[in-house]
Structure formats: C-alpha cells, structure tokens
C-alpha cells in the first residue's frame, strides 16, 4: 500500500478551537435585525380530520405578524426529483411540514405563527381554533395490516384499494424448500424493535428571510444545505436559484437532519410578515414531530447443517414508515443476510404507514433491525450445534467474489479479517464474572457515493483552502484537509477547510450515507491533483521545458533527469511565483461516485445483569471494523464508538412509548433513556484496513456500520448471561425481569409476546 505522510495521522481539527471555546455558531445561534420568532401549533391527536382552522383570534394578539396554515403551502402533487438522485415525495414532505386536511400523528404541524417574541408566538399559537374529527389511530404494524384497520391515505398506492402497505419488495436465491430440507437445525423467531430517535443534542433550528425581490436566505442546521434549498423550492413553489442556504455548525444529525421541517414554515412566515423569522424546536417537538427510525417486526427462519454451514433463510419484515410512505424496508431486506453465503433464501419486506411521525434516515437505516434478527439466530444456531460463534460466522462469511443477497458480487471486503481480529482480541477470551455474558454480532452497510464538488485554491504563501458543501458533523473538515496536505505535500495546518453555502460551491449531496470522506474526499483529492498539475505546468514555464516532462513527487515539481541546475521546486517556491507564472491557481473537481465499498464490522459485548432489578449494564465492549483506510483515526474510532453507543441504547433502553390514543408518553431525555457516561465502559476499537479500490487512498465509509451489530451483540450477551433469548427490544429492566421470572418454564426460549407495543 502507498506510504502516507499525512493521511493516518491525528492532527487537531481546524474547527476544534471554536468548538471548545463556545465560539462555533450552531443553528440557534444566528440572528438577524428585526427578526420575528416562530411557533408551531401541533395536533394533539394521532389521527384526525381537520374540520376547520380559525386563525382570527391568534392574528389579533399583540405582536403577532403572520399566521399560516396548510392553505399557505399549496399541495404539490408533482413527484419532484431533487438533488439529482432519486426522488423525495415533495407532496408528502410538504404535508408533513404543515398538514392539509388530516393530522396523521401526535405532533403533526397544523399551523404556525410569527410574532415579535417567542412567548407572543407561543401564546398566539394556542389561540388558533382547530376543530378536529378524531379518527381511530393506527399504532402498530399488526393493526395497520388488519382487515378492518383505519386507512391513513385513501390512495396510498395507485390502482390499489384501501391499504396501509405502501410498498413491498422481495429478494430470493436458490430453492428455499430444498435448502431447509438439507438443514439439520432450523430455528425460527419473531423479532420486534420499537421506534427509536437519533437523539442529536441540537434541536432543529433555522432563520429565514424572504426578500422583496423574492430572494430567500436560510440559515439552518442541516445535513444537506442543497437538499434544503431544493426541498423548500419544491414545497413552496419557489425558484430554487433564488434560495441561498447557509448551513450552520450542526449539533448531530445521524440522518435525522436530512428532511426539512421548519425551513419551509419560516420562509412562508417571512414572506407573509416581510420580516426575518427564527424557529427553534423544543426537545418535545423533536421527539414528536421529526423522523425517528422505524419500529419493526421481522419473522426469520434460518437453517444450517450440523457442521454449521448455513443453507437456507426465510425472512418477512415489516417496517413502520410513520405517517407517510418511505421506511428503510428495502435496505433492511438487502442488509440482513449480507454477511453470509446462503445458497437458498427468500426475503420479503413491507413498507407500512402508521399514525406516528414519518421516519427519517437513522444511521444505516433499516439494517440494525433486520440484522438483529439474523445475528440472534446465527448465535442460537451456534449454541444449538455447540460451535464457536466466530467459527460459525467465519465458515459462512462472504469474501471477494461472493454475491451479495441483492445481486452483484462483492469486490475486496474485510469481513473475514474483521472476524479474525475479533477472535484474536484479548476480549474474546477474557474471563467473565457471575451474572455476566458475552455476545458477538456482525453488521453491514453499503456506504453511499453520490455527488460532491470541491475546489482547492492555492495562495501566494503556499497555503491552500479546500471548499466543499458538506456540513462537518464529526471531523470531515480535518479529513479533507489531510487529503489536500497529502496531495500537495504541505502541512495540514497550512490547509484551510471550508464548508460553503449553496451559492459558493458546486452541488453536493448530503452529509450522510458514510459518503463524505469517501465521495467528497474523491472530489477533494481530484481538485488537489488539479492544483498539482497546474503547478507542474508553472514549473515547466519557469524551467522553459515541456510540462509533460515534469513529475510531481512529495510536494515538489521535479524536473527530468539531466535538467542542468534545475532543482525541484516546492509548493511554497512555486506559490511565491504564481503572479509571474500565470496568476492564481484554483483546482476543481466533481464526482458522482458509485456506492462505496461495503463496510463490515463485528462487535463483542460483555453484559452484566442484575437479576434482582432486571437492569443490565455493558461492562466491556470492543468494536472492530474495516475502514478501508482511516484518514484521521481519532474520528474513525469516534464513529465506531458513537455508533456502538447508539446501538447499545437501542438494545437496552430506547423506545417510543405511546398510549392507546397514540400520544407519545416519553418525549423528553429523562424518559427517552439514551446512554449516559456512567452507563458505558470504554469502547475499545480495532480498525481493519482492507483498501477500497474505488477510492484513491482506499477509504470506505465508516459512520453507519457501527450501529448495526450492537442490537444482537447485546441480546446475545443477555442470552449468554441469563439463558434467555429475548427477541424484542429494548432489554429494559421490566422486560428483562419478566423474562427472568419465566426462566424455569419450558417455553423460556419461545417468542415472548409484546409487552409494550400498543395494538
């Protein structure tokens, strides 16, 4: 592999100082002169027809400057393709931003107010008179599928009768019956996971100003400023070229800050009031009205031969989409068997609408829930056959040339190396104390490619700026700077990484899909190489020789052999002369990258269970992952540790709890219990590097894979500690206690019916 000078080192991030001194500006930290404050009125009902909305009393309140309802955002039934990639349903996103005709979940925005103070706006919002006709809410997959279920959308699927099933897909290979006939052991279970939220600490926030000339400025916290621009244009019927989006620093996203919620409302209010409008969500609103990940039901059957060879799998899965179509059911289907060579399988997946918030992407969307099923069953098969769970996985693990369950053959992938690293890690053989158990599980995510643009400018002092369009959620500025440093051969602190607004950089897809270091990195490297090519030409000009004869080596232009008295010229030397050799140098590049090389991970979890209270705590944890090439290892480890922590949260405590009316009962951080520092041990990491041939340095996406293994790693550790196979998450103390109390009965391994899911 190429020797790197800067890539793989751990410099301090360029935006670090601002972030440890409180100077960095996040979504809520921006203000404009004359700014109004917005507040949203939200539906108290989970499912209701909106009979009428009377805004007169609110409009008459002191300080109120504008009130909007769904009438101010005309429904856009055109299926608008935005972002150059795929399609978002702009009708649904607009209807989600402000309801038309029907409120589809508790928290659904029904009207919004702008006033001179937040208090005035909030007081006015509650004076808006809405007459609802409450309808029976659909709160679970089982209810949504029932023959007599209330229907959320009359025309959910064109040409079909009333249904809550928005879509179905299937994947298959081989002969399922023959496969199961070959199996010596067949295990089938039904698994459930509840809705869970990304839990970013920064609530959604924006300021919008609609100018007299129709130009719009939006400052907001988002993973995709170009997506905000294009979505607002489509939802409000505006000219996207007149919208400029400035992304603030972003306080976490994990997929949840891809859709727009407040931005179209703030623009519409600003247009009506002719003043800038600031809107900030409360934590309660973030939980109730932004997109968590799907609650799921997965029924899976797995068959293996006595030697551990997996021979057949059958999976049926249902993903809650929330109020509008579009759950990650497809990815769930595609990911669940991605780690194993299984000659015969059939997978079907369904997208189901329910009266809960519309789900958004959440870190490897769809993969954790379906992989929880697979990795639990693989563990159970290993136990049944008396095989080591790593040996069993290695025996069936995919490698280069094997076909993924969704079709194509894998290129170079690192699953086997990851599993070997797990087996060789001291954690795997460390002794366990009483009431402790150990579990292991694998995880997979595709890693997205998509579109990115970058420019690299060289200054006369030999420093460089690199401009991209991806908000920096977790250290991507320093990663891009490292790549420029590597190409140009200048120290990383001589590179200034800049996140530009939508008017100042070429189109760039969202910060998401583990794509920034990979795809935007490809654009950055190409732009830096463009600078190097121009520097070679400048050197050739100075030397008065053919540019093609000049090499670029280790940050210097090197003349051909025998060029008398012409020593190599460094970037600094060439930069000092740029005025004399043709003027400033700007490198540019853009890419539309294919999906990155898939990233596999494996996690080992030690869990200690308090049999008196049912509380369990992770006492040791190791995350292992193929990163392709770790550009800045601190932040690769950070992604692995953070993803593991979120997955542990899903496994142990996190869930949306609804009452029978469909009102979320735990919309706050006290009751929606995310891991805190005292809940976790240090999270050891092992970075495996199997280079990705699609990236010049071998980079793979790393952000998403680490949330996939923890669900089963924790549940497998629970099985090891207690003898009980839990198939429904989270493993919160009441559920664990209930399981422990059934431990002596014959059916202790049987599927445990839902204890929390409203039916």
């Amino acid at each position: 592999m190429k020797d790197f000078k800067y890539v793989g080192t751990r410099p301090i991030r360029h935006d670090g100082l601002d972030k440890v001194t409180g100077r960095a500006n996040y979504g809520a930290d921006f203000a404009l002169p004359g700014m109004l404050y917005g507040a949203v009125l939200r539906s108290p009902h989970a499912h209701a027809r909106i009979v009428s909305i009377d805004t007169k009393a609110a409009e008459a309140m002191p300080g109120v400057k504008a009130v909007i309802t769904g009438d101010d955002i005309p429904e856009n039934f055109a299926k608008v393709a935005i972002g150059g990639e795929g399609t978002f349903d702009m009708h649904d996103m607009g209807d989600n931003a402000l309801a038309h005709g029907k409120a589809l979940y508790n928290g659904h925005a029904v009207a919004a107010v702008a006033a001179v103070s937040l208090e005035a706006a909030q007081e006015a919002a509650v004076r808006i008179e809405v007459v609802y006709e409450p309808l029976e809410p659909v709160l679970s997959i089982d209810r949504a599928l029932a023959a007599d279920a209330p229907i959320l959308h009359e025309n959910l699927v064109e040409g079909q009768g009333p249904t809550n099933v928005a879509a179905r897909m299937e994947l298959k290979r081989g002969d399922l019956d023959a496969g199961f006939a070959e199996a010596d052991v067949v295990i089938e279970r039904e698994f459930r996971t509840p809705m869970a939220h990304q839990g970013y600490i920064e609530p959604h926030a924006c300021v919008a100003r609609y100018g007299e000339d129709g130009r719009v400025l939006v400052w907001c916290t988002t993973q995709g400023p170009f997506l905000v621009r294009d979505a607002c244009a489509a939802i409000l019927g505006l000219d996207g070229s007149k919208i400029k989006v400035i992304s603030s620093e972003i306080g976490g996203g994990f997929g949840g800050k891809i859709p727009v919620y407040l931005e179209p409302l703030a623009i519409a209010l600003s247009r009506k009031a002719n003043r800038p409008v600031k809107m900030v969500m409360t934590r309660d609103e973030v939980f109730r009205a932004t997109g968590p990940t799907s609650g799921t039901k997965v029924v899976m059957k797995l068959g293996a031969k006595r030697d551990g060879t997996l021979v057949a799998a059958h999976a049926s899965m249902w993903y809650e989409a929330g109020a509008y179509r579009g759950s990650p059911f497809g990815a769930g289907a595609m990911c669940c068997l991605a780690a194993y060579k299984i000659p015969n399988f059939f997978i079907e997946a369904y997208d189901v609408v329910v009266n809960k918030p519309k789900v958004a992407a959440y870190r490897a969307p769809g993969s954790p829930a379906s992989t929880f099923a697979t990795e639990s069953l693989v563990d159970e098969i290993a136990r049944t056959l008396g095989l080591d769970p790593i040996d069993l996985r290695l025996k069936n693990a995919v490698a280069e040339g094997d076909n993924a369950p969704y079709g194509p053959a894998y290129g170079p992938i690192g699953l086997k190396q990851v599993l070997e690293a797990a087996r060789n890690h001291p954690h795997w053989t460390a002794p366990l104390a009483p009431n402790q158990g150990r579990g292991i599980a694998c995880g997979f995510w595709f890693n997205a490619g998509l579109s990115s643009s970058a420019t690299v400018t060289l200054d006369g002092d030999g420093s460089a700026a690199v401009v991209t369009g991806n908000p920096d959620i977790g250290g991507t500025r320093v990663a891009q700077a490292l790549m420029v440093a590597e190409e140009l051969g200048i120290p990383v602190d001589r590179v200034r990484p800049i996140v530009a607004d939508t008017d100042s950089v070429g189109f760039t897809d969202v910060t998401g899909g583990s794509r920034v270091c990979y795809a935007t990195g490809m654009a950055v490297i190409a732009a830096a190489r463009d600078v190097c090519d121009q520097l070679r030409a400048r050197a050739a000009k100075i030397w008065d020789i053919d540019p093609a004869s000049v090499e670029w080596e280790d940050g210097r232009a090197v003349p051909p052999d025998g060029a008398d008295g012409r020593g190599p010229l460094t970037v600094a030397e060439l930069a000092a002369k740029i005025g004399h050799t043709g003027g400033p140098i700007v490198g540019r590049a853009s890419v539309n990258a294919p999906m990155a090389g898939p990233g596999f991970g494996a996690h080992i979890c030690d869990l200690e269970v308090d049999v008196e209270t049912g509380r369990s705590i992770v006492v040791r944890y190791t995350a292992i992952q193929d990163a392709g090439k770790a550009v800045h290892p601190d932040f690769v480890e950070g992604q692995m540790q953070g993803g593991a922590s979120q997955g542990i949260g899903m496994a142990l405590n996190e869930e949306y709890i609804y009452n029978a009316s469909g009102v979320m009962e735990n919309a706050g951080f006290l009751d929606y219990r995310m891991p805190v520092a005292s809940d976790l041990p240090m999270i050891d990491t092992v970075i495996v590097e199997v280079p990705n041939p699609l990236h010049p340095y071998g980079v793979r996406g790393v952000g998403e894979t680490p949330i996939v293994p923890p669900l089963a790693a924790v549940a497998n550790a629970m099985r090891d500690a207690t003898g009980i196979r839990f198939t429904e998450l989270p493993l919160s103390p009441p559920r664990v206690l209930e399981g422990l109390s059934a431990r002596t009965t014959e059916d202790r391994d049987a599927w445990r019916p839902s204890t929390y899911q409203a039916v």
């Binding site: 972002g83 150059g84 990639e85 795929g86 399609t87 978002f88 349903d89 699927v157 064109e158 079909q160 928005a166 879509a167 179905r168 897909m169 299937e170 994947l171 298959k172 993973q223 997929g255 891809i258 179509r325 579009g326 759950s327 990650p328 059911f329 497809g330 990815a331 595609m334 997208d351 958004a360 992407a361 870190r363 969307p365 769809g366 969704y406 079709g407 194509p408 053959a409 894998y410 290129g411 595709f446 997205a448 490619g449 998509l450 897809d509 969202v510 910060t511 998401g512 899909g513 583990s514 794509r515 539309n592 294919p594 999906m595 699609l694 998403e704």
Partner: protein, 90 residues
C-alpha cells in the same frame, strides 16, 4: 452487450425471466432495450440502481458496457436516507 440480472420482484413483468443477455453499448440503451422487451418493466426501471461489475451506480446512463459486464438491477439506497423507497409492489 451485458448479462442482466433482475431481482425476483421484477420477474412478474418478464414472464419469470431473471437473467438475460442484452446487446447494448451503454446502460441507457440497455434500459431502453429491457423496457421494449418487457413493457411491464417500463415504470419500474427508473426506481432501480444498477450494479455494473460489482459497483452500484444511481445515475449512470452513459456508462459503457462490455461483453463481459455483469449488470444487476438493485433497489436504490441513498446517502444515509432511503432516497427512493417507492418500490411499490415490485
């Protein structure tokens, strides 16, 4: 020319055919040929990404194909978001 593999959910539109050799210089012509051969596929193809020799592209109509190209139609999965999950009943 390329060997095209269709996901099982699409074979209802192809009379059960799940693998077909198509003589097309590029992805665009391949898609047009597929839609002509199997009219039922026409509305489905724009919802699919294409994997060409293992690499998955979301938008590559002008990507050149070779006689040995292995093409798989796969559902789109996007940048952290399931960009197009309107795979209605494929």
């Amino acid at each position: 020319m390329a060997t095209v593999h269709l996901p099982s959910g699409l074979t209802q539109h192809t009379g059960g055919v799940d693998e077909i050799i198509i003589d097309a210089p590029r992805v665009r012509e391949l898609m047009l040929a597929l839609a002509e051969r199997f009219p039922g596929l026409a509305g489905q193809l724009d919802r699919m990404a294409v994997a060409i020799d293992g690499d998955i592209y979301h938008d590559a109509p002008y990507h050149k194909l070779t006689p040995t190209s292995e093409v798989y139609l796969v559902p789109r999965v996007g940048g952290g978001e399931s960009f197009d999950q309107r795979l209605s009943h494929i």
